[in-house]
């Protein structure tokens, strides 16, 4: 897996909440048996007109976002279907990191990313960064005001720096396991296989209730 340590790139904003994985990669592209070739189909239904041309009305098609590699959207990004194809599509479309805000509803903090999507990002060397709603609002405003605005994402220091005329930085939290996996580009199957003896031992006394 490609490690993630530090990345600088252009930010693109998508002003939508609850972006589901059906929207990120529609069903017709799930017929493939390959892991590659999904990039041009990311956000397909929003991205292209009925004639297959880029839809000028879709935010991410704006020229100002050309060459972007950091996606910023609203809360509950990646909800719905477990399809890892959604992450493959984003990575293959050039995104290295996605930023989304947690949301506070009735005093409870709802996570920025859907659980399965977040796991899938880690498995593919993509960083999912959770910030507050106020911080994400700030990024949206700065991107609107500054064409080609860049950010640097540093996983070691857990910091996002927005390179606006007056630079701003935000700290983010990340699960220690996910951080280690991303920083080192670890093959997690190989890691688990180091515990093979433990798995075998567990199996020897574990009841699965299948008929003998």
């Amino acid at each position: 897996m490609r490690p993630f340590t530090r990345h600088t790139g252009i930010i693109a904003t998508l002003d939508r909440s609850n972006v589901d994985t059906d929207a990120i990669i529609p069903k017709q592209f799930l017929k493939s048996t390959k892991r590659t070739g999904y990039g041009p189909s990311a956000f397909f239904d929003w991205r292209y007109t009925a004639d297959g041309e880029p839809d000028p009305g879709f935010e991410l098609n704006q020229h100002r976002f050309e060459g972007r590699s950091i996606l910023v959207a609203r809360n509950n990004f990646g909800c719905g279907s477990s399809r890892e194809h959604a992450v493959w599509a984003l990575v293959q479309d050039g995104y290295r990191a996605v930023i989304s805000p947690w949301k506070e509803v009735s005093g409870k903090r709802l996570p920025a990313f859907a659980d399965i999507f977040q796991t899938n990002t880690t498995k593919n060397g993509m960083l999912a960064i959770e910030l507050s709603e106020a911080e994400v609002d700030t990024i949206f405003k700065l991107v609107a005001a500054n064409k080609g605005l860049q950010a640097t994402v540093d996983l070691n220091t857990q910091q996002v720096t927005i390179h606006a005329p007056k630079a701003v930085s935000f700290q983010f939290e990340i699960d220690t396991g996910a951080k280690e996996q991303l920083l080192n580009g670890l093959d997690d199957i190989a890691l688990t296989l180091q515990d093979e003896a433990k798995i075998t031992q567990f199996e020897s006394s574990h009841e699965t209730w299948l008929p003998g």
């Binding site: 002003d15 939508r16 909440s17 609850n18 589901d20 059906d22 929207a23 529609p26 069903k27 017709q28 799930l30 017929k31 493939s32 048996t33 390959k34 892991r35 239904d45 609203r74 809360n75 509950n76 909800c79 719905g80 279907s81 477990s82 399809r83 890892e84 194809h85 992450v87 949301k103 509803v105 409870k108 709802l110 996570p111 859907a114 659980d115 399965i116 796991t119 899938n120 498995k123 593919n124 699960d175 220690t176 396991g177 997690d188 199957i189 688990t192 296989l193 515990d195 093979e196 433990k198 798995i199 567990f202 199996e203 574990h206 009841e207 699965t208 209730w209 299948l210 008929p211």
Partner: protein, 469 residues
């Protein structure tokens, strides 16, 4: 302090506890389908790895298969290649496959319980988010991505963060013509589509206890639509009866079953168990639900008007504007004034025999409206045979419905069963996302009774009033 049902399953499957509170969890059942597995098998081949426990993995074809009677010859070459790859992979790695043409073929979350694979206290995973369905038996069951599918194939285990627990209590009795589908839609409307994220839900209370296994499965199925990767219901006599009856080749039998039931009785959450969150819903006040927007949290009672920007709790003005524009609806609209083009009765949410009986009871002696296309897709071939034995297929066909073979069908429209742009569908499925049932298609999620009635009326109806009229 006591343990929750979730804690008990988690602890019993921990191969190794991890320093950050997570665990390497043992997986008892791995269900595999044709869409999310080929890249995992390819990974195995590239790394020269084997499937550790092919006897704990079970495959079927569901997402990508046609449901018409001529489906043994798949015309779409890309779909055919994927189905062929599933056959090759299962053969090469020694995994049992319920292929097209097999009497047990069906939606993966239908056949697990039918075959007796789904049992209380197990860990069950599948590369499909609706794996939460199996939680109805008191199994910890959740959807995984393809990288995790590969991980389970090789190691029969998964590294997991420990989720929080969320108790959802339903009190009181359901009113007539209100079903478990309405309960779960009401819940999602209340907590929002991210309300359960990071949590495992445990559904409890007298309403849940009174539900059949099939109705319980419809609720657990849509846990993911509330953001929760898994939903659980404690096993009870209803659960044990389901497992003990019928032809379930993989269920324990005789003394083995007695032993299993004795163990399963120890699983329910202890009286003094603590949950991280709790919500209580009065079931007696739930009315038939219908979604108006583009995610399952955008839901109203059938007698409420469609909300406008600023009127939908938990959604921004932009969210509501986008949803209304896509759905072609104006604020204040009564859905009982809105015509439907297609009615889909199917999916892992509502295509079990009880669902078909409810739909058939509405359709018996009635005709679908002329301009409506009505599709009835049983969730498994076993359900199809049962329905035919009960004569339900004749009722559906007499009402003008298409009676199909088992598969996911128009729930996600990977196969030829799709909506055309702007077509409006009353659907018993689980997701009303933009484009879900076909690009530009407009989905409204409802119960099987509400869907069947919409097919007859040619528009949404308040089932309670419509049946009286």
């Amino acid at each position: 302090m006591g343990k929750t049902l979730f804690d008990k399953i988690w602890d019993a499957h921990t191969v190794r506890a991890l320093p950050d509170g997570g665990a390497l969890l043992y997986i008892d059942r791995h269900l595999v389908h044709e869409v999310t597995s080929p890249q995992a098998f390819e990974g195995l081949r590239l790394a020269g790895r084997q499937v550790r426990r092919p006897d704990l993995s079970f495959g079927t074809m569901d997402h990508n298969v046609p449901t018409t009677d001529d489906r043994m010859e798949i015309r779409d070459p890309i779909s055919r290649a994927q189905v062929d790859a599933m056959r090759t992979n299962c053969r090469a790695f020694g995994i049992r496959l319920y292929d097209l043409g097999d009497e047990h073929q069906g939606i993966v979350h239908m056949i697990g319980p039918e075959l007796g694979l789904t049992l209380p206290g197990l860990t069950i995973v599948c590369g499909d988010s609706h794996t939460s369905t199996h939680g109805a038996f008191g199994a910890l069951a959740f959807g995984i991505g393809t990288s995790e599918v590969e991980h389970v194939l090789v190691t029969q285990s998964l590294v997991q963060r420990k989720p929080n627990t969320y108790k959802v209590e339903f009190t009181g009795r359901l009113a007539p013509h209100v079903f478990s589908k309405d309960m779960v839609l009401k819940l999602i409307g209340t907590i929002g589509t991210a309300g359960g994220a990071g949590h495992v839900l445990e559904y409890c209370g007298e309403t849940i206890r009174a539900l059949s296994m099939e109705a319980r499965m419809s609720i657990c199925n849509m846990s993911i639509e509330g953001g929760a990767r898994a939903g659980l219901i404690a096993p009870d006599e209803t659960t044990f009866d389901y497992i003990a009856t019928g032809d379930r080749p993989f269920a324990p039998k005789g003394e083995h079953l007695e032993e299993a039931i004795a163990h399963w009785r120890t699983l329910p959450s202890d009286a003094d168990a603590r949950f991280d969150q709790t919500t209580t819903i009065d079931s007696s006040r739930i009315k038939p639900q219908v979604t108006w927007g583009t995610n399952p949290g955008m839901v109203i009672d059938i007698d409420q008007p469609v909300p406008g920007p600023g009127e939908a709790y938990g959604y921004s003005r932009t969210d509501v504007e986008n949803a209304l524009a896509y759905m072609g609806l104006a604020p204040g609209t009564r859905l009982t004034d809105v015509a439907v083009d297609v009615v889909f009765i199917g999916s892992c949410t509502n295509a079990r025999i009880e669902d078909l009986r409810l739909a058939a009871a509405i359709l018996e002696g009635r005709q679908k409206a002329d301009n409506v296309e009505l599709l009835v897709v049983p969730g498994s071939m076993q359900v199809r045979r049962q329905a035919e034995a009960e004569g339900l297929d004749r009722i559906f066909k007499a009402a003008g419905a298409q009676w199909r073979n088992a598969g996911c069908s128009m729930c996600l429209g990977m196969n030829p069963d799709q909506l055309r742009p702007q077509q409006r569908c009353a659907s018993t499925s689980n997701r009303n996302f933009e484009g879900r049932q076909g690009k530009g298609g407009r989905t409204h999620l409802v119960s099987p009774e509400m869907a069947a009635a919409a097919a007859v009326a040619g528009k949404f109806v308040d089932i309670r009033k419509w049946l009286e009229a």
